[in-house]
C-alpha cells in the first residue's frame, strides 16, 4: 500500500511515530473534510471571513501592450493578502472538527504563519508558529501581526536558522504532541495526506476562475500560468482545468540567477528525483544554493503532484530569474496600479513571455498575493 501516489511521487516518507497521526489525519480528511456539512461551513468562512469569490480581472493595459488577452485571478485581494488563507481555513476547521485544540505551523517569510494565526484566533485554537531566527529578524512586521492575533512565535535557533529548521522544529513538536495538535502545513508538500488535502483546499481558485472565464469570454483560456515554490497556488489554479486538454499549464519557478547557475530554486526545470520532507519529489542538485529573490519560492523541493505533471508532460516548468520577476513586478504596478507579490511576479513574467513568444491568445495568471510585504526589497532594487 502506498499513500498519495502521484505516478510514483509523493508517499509518506516519515519516521514511524509520525505514521499514525498522518493516518488519522487522512481518515479525518476523507470522512469529515469531504462531507457536505463541512464543505458548506468552509464555503461560508471563505466568503465571509476570507472574501471569496475573488475577481477575475482583465488586465487591459498590459494586454494591449503585448497583444494577448491577459487575465488575473485576484487572490491578492483575500484577507491576509494571499491565497494562503484558503488552505489555513480548511485545515484549521478540519482540526477543530477532529477534536484538536492546538495548531502549529512553520513559516519562512511569515505569510503562512500569519494566515495560521488568523484562523487560530477565529476558531479559538491555541497557535504556535515556528520561525527561523534569521527570518524573525527579516520579517519583523509579520512577527508583530502573529503575536497581535495571539499566536506564540517560536524563534528557531538550530541549524541554519531558516525555513528548513523551522520545519524540523515543528515536526518535533508534532511528534511529541500528536494527541491534541494539528500541524498546519502551508503548501502542497510533505507526506500524504498534505499534498492532496492542501490541493483540494486551494482548488477553489481554479474552480472559480474557470467559471468566471467561461462567463466572461464564452471560452476557456489557452494557457494557465502560476508561480511554483511548494506549488499550492499553481495546483489550486490548475486542478479545475486538469481535464481541459486545450488549456496549457505553465509553472514559473524561482530561477534566481538562472536555472543553469548555482543559485536558484527550480527543481522541476533543473533538479533530480529525490526524497525530502516526507515525500518523493524533485529536488535541486546538492551543489546548488537554494535562492530566489522571493522568500516564498525559496525552497529546495516542490509538491509531488508537480513532479508528476512534469513527468507526464501536463505542465511546462521553467525558471524565471530574479531580474525578470522584478521587471514584471514593476510593470504591473505601473501599467495596472496593482502591486503583485514577488512570488506572483514570476508567473506574471512568464505570462508576458508567452504573450510575446507564443500564439496563445487568452492567458490566465494566478495573482497569488499582494506586494506590500516586498516593499523593502523594491525600495532597495528600484531606489524608490
Amino acid at each position: 500500500m502506498s499513500h498519495g501516489n502521484f505516478e510514483g511521487y509523493g508517499g509518506r516518507h516519515v519516521p514511524d511515530p509520525l505514521q499514525e497521526p498522518l493516518e488519522q489525519l487522512a481518515t479525518a480528511y476523507d470522512e469529515i473534510g469531504t462531507s457536505d456539512e463541512f464543505q458548506a461551513d468552509l464555503r461560508d468562512l471563505l466568503e465571509e471571513f476570507a472574501g471569496r469569490p475573488t475577481p477575475l480581472y482583465y488586465a487591459g493595459n498590459l494586454s494591449e501592450r503585448y497583444g494577448a488577452e491577459i487575465y488575473l485571478k485576484r487572490e491578492d485581494l483575500l484577507h491576509g493578502g494571499a491565497h494562503k488563507i484558503n488552505n489555513a481555513l480548511g485545515q484549521a476547521l478540519l482540526a477543530k472538527r477532529a477534536g484538536r485544540d492546538r495548531l502549529i505551523a512553520e513559516t519562512g517569510a511569515g505569510q503562512h504563519g500569519t494566515a495560521t494565526a488568523m484562523v487560530g484566533a477565529l476558531l479559538g485554537l491555541e497557535t504556535e508558529i515556528y520561525m527561523g531566527k534569521k527570518d524573525v529578524q527579516r520579517q519583523e512586521m509579520n512577527v508583530f501581526r502573529m503575536r497581535l492575533m495571539g499566536a506564540e512565535v517560536n524563534e528557531v535557533t538550530r541549524g541554519g536558522e531558516g525555513l528548513a529548521d523551522a520545519v524540523d522544529a515543528a515536526l518535533e513538536d508534532f511528534a511529541e504532541n500528536v494527541e491534541d495538535t494539528h500541524y498546519l502545513v502551508g503548501s502542497v508538500v510533505g507526506p500524504d495526506p498534505f499534498p492532496r488535502m492542501v490541493r483540494d483546499f486551494q482548488s477553489v481558485i481554479g474552480t472559480e476562475a474557470r467559471e468566471q472565464f467561461l462567463d466572461r469570454t464564452g471560452e476557456l483560456p489557452d494557457a494557465a500560468v502560476a508561480c511554483v515554490g511548494g506549488g499550492s497556488n499553481a495546483i489550486g489554479l490548475f486542478h479545475a482545468f486538469r481535464d481541459d486538454d486545450d488549456v496549457a499549464f505553465y509553472g514559473a519557478e524561482g530561477g534566481g540567477e538562472g536555472s543553469d547557475s548555482s543559485r536558484h530554486a527550480a527543481p522541476l526545470s533543473s533538479g533530480k528525483d529525490d526524497v525530502i520532507h516526507g515525500m518523493k519529489t524533485r529536488v535541486i542538485d546538492e551543489d546548488v544554493d537554494v535562492h530566489s529573490v522571493s522568500a516564498g519560492l525559496d525552497y529546495p523541493g516542490v509538491g509531488p503532484e508537480h513532479a508528476m505533471f512534469r513527468a507526464v508532460g501536463r505542465c511546462e516548468y521553467s525558471g524565471v530569474t530574479d531580474d525578470a520577476a522584478l521587471a514584471a513586478f514593476r510593470e504591473l504596478s505601473e501599467t495596472e496600479g496593482i502591486i503583485p507579490a514577488l512570488e506572483s511576479s514570476h508567473g506574471l513574467a512568464r505570462a508576458i513571455q508567452l504573450a510575446e513568444e507564443t500564439d496563445h491568445e487568452r492567458i490566465l495568471v494566478n495573482l497569488s498575493g499582494r506586494g506590500d510585504k516586498d516593499m523593502e526589497t523594491a525600495a532597495e532594487k528600484f531606489d524608490l
Binding site: 500500500m1 516519515v14 518535533e172
Partner: protein, 285 residues
C-alpha cells in the same frame, strides 16, 4: 524476516546473543573525521556489541537538538557519503556496523537512481545493515531487494503508535533487529524511561528477531531497567553525543573525551547485563 532467519548466524545475530547488547550511536564526522574515528573506537573498547554510525543529512526529521547539532557539526567538518564510506574502511573495530541515515542520501548516491549503488558500496566497505528513519516499511521494497542482493540487513523503527497493517508490513521486511522506540517524541536523553517500552515489547513478543530499545536511555540504571523489561539490547545516542559536544565546546583533549565515552559505554553495557540477570525465565510463545 522471512528466509533470513534460516541463514547462518551473522554478525548482527551474534551481537545480540547475550540478550544484553549495547548499541551506541554517533554521528560520523562529529566534530571532525579524525576525532570521530577515536570516539567510535572508544565505544568499541567500552563494550559496544554493534555500532550505529550516523551518516549526517542536512534535513533530518524529528531529531532532537542534541542529534541535530551533532549532524550540523559533522556536515560543517565536510562529511559526505563518500567520506563516510572511507571512514568505515579506516575504522579499526571488530563489531558489526550499521549505517543510520535518511533515504535521500541512499537514493541519490551513484550514477543510477535508486538504492542499488549505495548498498553495493556499503557492502564493499563491510557495513552490515541500515536504519532509515524516514523510510516507511511500505516504501522499502527497492531497498529491501538491494539489501537481499548484497546480504545486508534492514532495520525498522517501531514506535509506541505502530500497530496493525504497518506492524505486519515491518515484520515482513525487517531483518537484523528491530529498533523499538521507547516513547513518542524526538530523540534525546531524558530522565524518565517510559513504560510505553513494555507495551511495545509486548506487541512484538511473537517476533523472533532481537529487539533493541532506544530513545531516552542515558545511564546504567536506565539500561538495566530497559534490559530487565525484556529488551535484547539498548540503543544509546544522545547521551553519548552529549559527551562529544561537551568535549568540543570545552576544548578537551581528544583522549579525555574518548576516555569519557569508553567509561559511559562500560556503565551502559554493565547496566544492560545486570538487567538481563534480573529477567525471569524467558517465555517464548
Amino acid at each position: 524476516m522471512g528466509d533470513t532467519s534460516e541463514a547462518e548466524p551473522d554478525a548482527i545475530a551474534t551481537a545480540f546473543e547475550d540478550e544484553s547488547a549495547f548499541v551506541p550511536y554517533l554521528a560520523v564526522g562529529d566534530p571532525t573525521y579524525e576525532e570521530s574515528l577515536e570516539y567510535v573506537e572508544a565505544l568499541a573498547h567500552g563494550g559496544a556489541d554493534l555500532i550505529e554510525l550516523g551518516l549526517p543529512f542536512s534535513e533530518p526529521m524529528a531529531e532532537g537538538p542534541t542529534i541535530q547539532q551533532a549532524v550540523t557539526r559533522a556536515l560543517e567538518s565536510g562529511m559526505t557519503p563518500e567520506r563516510f564510506f572511507e571512514f568505515v574502511e579506516d575504522l579499526e573495530v571488530d563489531v558489526p556496523l550499521v549505517c543510520m541515515t535518511y533515504y535521500n542520501l541512499i537514493y541519490q548516491y551513484g550514477p543510477s537512481e535508486g538504492p542499488q549503488s549505495f548498498v553495493e558500496r556499503a557492502a564493499d566497505v563491510g557495513l552490515e545493515g541500515f536504519v532509515v528513519p524516514d523510510l516507511p516499511a511500505e516504501e522499502a521494497g527497492p531497498l529491501r531487494e538491494a539489501c537481499d542482493e548484497f546480504g545486508l540487513d534492514l532495520v525498522f523503527i517501531v514506535a509506541p503508535t505502530t500497530r496493525g497493517d504497518r506492524l505486519e508490513e515491518m515484520m515482513d521486511r525487517v531483518s537484523g533487529y528491530v529498533y523499538v522506540q521507547a516513547r513518542l517524541g524526538a530523540t534525546g536523553a531524558r530522565d524518565d524511561v517510559s513504560d510505553q517500552t513494555e507495551g511495545s515489547l509486548d506487541r512484538l513478543a511473537g517476533w523472533e528477531i532481537p529487539k533493541a530499545v532506544g530513545f531516552g536511555i542515558k545511564n546504567g540504571e536506565h539500561a538495566e531497567r530497559i534490559s530487565a523489561a525484556g529488551a535484547d539490547g539498548i540503543i544509546v545516542g544522545s547521551a553519548l553525543v552529549d559527551i562529544v559536544a561537551e568535549g568540543h565546546e570545552e576544548d578537551r583533549p581528544v583522549e579525555e573525551t574518548a576516555e569519557r565515552l569508553e567509561a559511559k559505554a562500560r556503565e551502559l553495557k554493565d547496566g544492560a547485563l545486570d538487567g538481563t540477570e534480573r529477567l525471569p525465565e524467558p517465555e517464548h510463545p
